[in-house]
Subunit: 276 residues, 2 copies
Amino acid sequence: MVVFLGIDGGGTGCRAAVADSAGTILGLGAAGPANVNTDVTGTFANIMTATRQALSGHTIAETDLVAVLGLAGANISAAVDHLHQMLPFARTRIVTDAVTAARGALGGADGIVAAMGTGSVFAVQRAGVMRQFGGRGFVLGDQGSGAVLGRTLLAEALRADDGFAPMTPLLAEVLGEFGGIEGIITFGFRARPAEFAALAPRIVQSDDPAARRIFEDAVKEVRGIVETLQAGDRLPLVFLGGLGPSYSRHLGELWEIRAPLGSGLDGAVRLALEEA
Amino acid sequence: MVVFLGIDGGGTGCRAAVADSAGTILGLGAAGPANVNTDVTGTFANIMTATRQALSGHTIAETDLVAVLGLAGANISAAVDHLHQMLPFARTRIVTDAVTAARGALGGADGIVAAMGTGSVFAVQRAGVMRQFGGRGFVLGDQGSGAVLGRTLLAEALRADDGFAPMTPLLAEVLGEFGGIEGIITFGFRARPAEFAALAPRIVQSDDPAARRIFEDAVKEVRGIVETLQAGDRLPLVFLGGLGPSYSRHLGELWEIRAPLGSGLDGAVRLALEEA
């Protein structure tokens, strides 16, 4: 009997689902982080823990599983190759967690997915073929993401303190909270993307002039990206991630916005079934 | 007898000069890095090595020195306070290396200094009073610096590869050199500012459309900063750092550009003499 395994793995945890060939879920599991580029060994261990949990109570061998894994960091092929060799499944396909999330969100339909969380990544599905765009990370990409918005706010606070940009109530508030420019500089050198992203809700919900300008610039950038990905079509658009609703509000008049059909785990199971 | 010590300390090395009250140099010394924020203990050791070298052949006690130290990382006061307590000099004043560089460049004259190297920092001197602006580091500031230019070029190459920006010969060349988007992403996560800055000469000297746009944006930003610092005056402008000549070429019609009078070490000695 062939059994199908879907894994949805991100920087904070991973989930596993085992399904029969009709797509009926036979078991679920969960474990710790699965960013393959950050930690191959830990990712392997967490995937196996979640998988064994999903298999518990069944007499299914790991070596009978057809698996699709959507993992954070899977755009770095050396790490993916390494993990691939460690896994015991009958067949294994490893894609980024963006691909499984987009597949879960769209099902089989054509559309564009914009995942706007701590990072950002985009995907387009046309006639069942998924292509990923963006998602290049905090330093060089992640346009419109929470981490980039937060970093921009702090940079703007420093600029305002120098007199290079107008001081606003929010910038003054942030300077106060962080202990002035020195506090912001120190934070900036050590903070991880998620810590920058913690500032994002205060930007997207604010009437402060600096916050509005920062978010309007980000909306313009995301709009440009979606326009490029539409390539003249009018595909429906699904927003994922914590900032999704904020972007939806600004871009809902341009394109049809749809709610996601399912999760990244649904997407992984769906892709595994298609491997048959 | 009071003797004066100037220290010019940066991320790659530090230099010391000892002078008498007439400003005559009695001895010089050099040692390793002196970024007080990165490594207080190493900075202390290197400052003392350079100082003892400058004192060799003289019977001058360290405890008789009136010292001004211009150090990288000296905008972080906790590190500065720590170092201050370790140093044996009669009097010690610690400023950023930007302040000593600007003082050396301008002497006593009014003017604006723009140090455009791996990082960037600005200073204005009016009636002997120096104020520093910018210099907030690679993550949140360093506008127009080599590291920021290099990072922007790599981000643009990723955008072009995604179809979000036009592909140009230089972007294609960079993509090839780094091993495609995956190579650029990997580099982006681990590279230090100096590694990003290594790309800058190819940007400021290039006729490539992407390089021109990136550098024109940077020139516009630096121009805006200098305009703010002029505050309606027409102070002369001194450029320092490897990218200084490139910015001079673009901004020389707006303001009088002057060559630096002296080095950061000259500035430190000058400031030490003023402590008397």
